[in-house]
């Protein structure tokens, strides 16, 4: 059953770079194309590729379902919490001006944190949906 050797070795070579690309898309989203949503989908794609090639049980060891299901609401809370912090700093909800004395820096920080929330929710939702589909055996 080891006929897919090339697939396994090739995937192992590619997988870290997919994750790296997801992080690049996430943190370079201010300057280049992309952002939290795209980065989340790419990161989830890495886990799904791993699951397709090495089996769902191996994938659950690198992305345990309990953590994944915890991350689904966590991203929304990060987003929502950013807005509440900006309220406490005396600005409007989700107005990031108070995060840093410099206007541009403040908004870059705000965007980064908010996109992190998007990344967390999107990636975990995609992985959780894939797990939910893949766990159901053929009836």
């Amino acid at each position: 059953m080891r006929l897919d050797l090339i697939l396994r070795v090739g995937a192992k070579l590619v997988l870290p770079f997919i994750l790296l690309f997801a992080l690049y898309v996430q943190f370079h989203g201010d300057y280049g194309p992309g952002g939290g949503f795209q980065a989340g989908v790419i990161a989830a794609g890495m886990v799904i590729l791993y699951a397709i090639i090495f089996g769902i049980r191996a994938a659950k060891q690198i992305a345990p379902p309990s953590i994944v299901e915890f991350m689904v609401p966590l991203g929304v809370l990060i987003y929502c919490g950013t807005g509440i912090v900006s309220l406490l700093l005396g600005y409007n909800y989700l107005d990031f001006t108070g995060f840093h004395p410099d206007f541009l820096r403040a908004h870059e920080w705000g965007i980064l944190i908010v996109e992190l929330g998007v990344l967390v929710t999107v990636s975990s939702t995609m992985i959780a949906m894939f797990y939910a589909f893949a766990q159901r055996g053929r009836r």
Binding site: G29, Y79, F133
Partner: protein, 234 residues
């Protein structure tokens, strides 16, 4: 290239001038090719009876749509379309086919009513485009409202250089918050639909574990199959 430069550089200059002259049309040509391929793939999807083929064709359709978005300079949309449309949804549809089987049952119903509905909806949509402003012009009403402010902020280095990110995450942060909530709600809904059933009954759970063991045996994952039912519940 200026008209003066062409006589000075005889052979290479002519080629370069020809290329530059053609260049504005290259974009339109690529779009025509991609749109033709999209139409061909749509027809192929309609004709195809094997669901596996349909899923792969729709993945190709999404990838062509991503190329089209690239030609239209909408790089963020292209990235989303390539990753979600061609990537995740193809995988999820394949996972669904694993559950349902991949052959479509032949249907002998009349196609008259569906054909009429599709043509009517298509006609209404085409009729709707007549009222739109000309494609790509700068002084369309939607470019006059708030867009100039966004562009000014990015140009004056008050916002990150990628205007799309600035608009999505900052100017329209509420909208994006809504979108995240939509993703969250949809994910929770799918998880409830797919997982709620078999967690409630113990019979189904045993079936699922058996299937997973078979899958692990196929994948040669000895470590996984040695832990049987206890592994997943932990």
């Amino acid at each position: 290239m200026t008209p003066l430069a062409t006589p000075l550089a005889p052979a290479a200059g002519h080629v370069a001038a020809a290329v530059e002259k053609v260049e504005p049309n290259v974009e339109a040509f690529i779009m025509m090719v991609v749109l033709t391929l999209l139409a061909a793939i749509t027809i192929a999807i309609v004709k195809q009876r094997n669901m596996f083929g349909v899923v792969i064709l729709s993945g190709i359709y999404s990838f062509l749509m991503a190329s089209l978005m690239m030609v239209l300079d909408a790089v963020d949309v292209a990235m989303t379309e390539a990753s979600v449309g061609a990537g995740i949804s193809t995988v999820l549809l394949l996972a669904t086919l694993h559950l349902t089987g991949s052959m479509e049952y032949p249907q002998h119903r009349s196609i008259a009513i569906p054909l009429f509905v599709s043509l009517a909806v298509g006609a209404i949509l085409v009729w709707g485009t007549i009222g739109l402003p000309e494609f790509g012009i700068a002084d369309a009403p939607m470019h006059q409202h708030v867009a100039p402010t966004y562009i000014e902020y990015s140009k004056n280095h008050q916002m990150p250089p990628n205007m799309v990110t600035a608009v999505l995450a900052d100017f329209r942060s509420f909208d994006t918050f809504g979108e995240v909530t939509v993703v969250f709600t949809a994910g929770i809904g799918v998880l409830l639909l797919l997982q709620g059933g078999w967690r409630a009954t113990s019979n189904n759970r045993r079936d699922d574990d058996d299937d997973e063991d078979v899958e692990d045996a196929v994948h040669g994952n000895k470590e996984g199959s040695s832990k049987t039912a206890g592994g997943r519940n932990a």
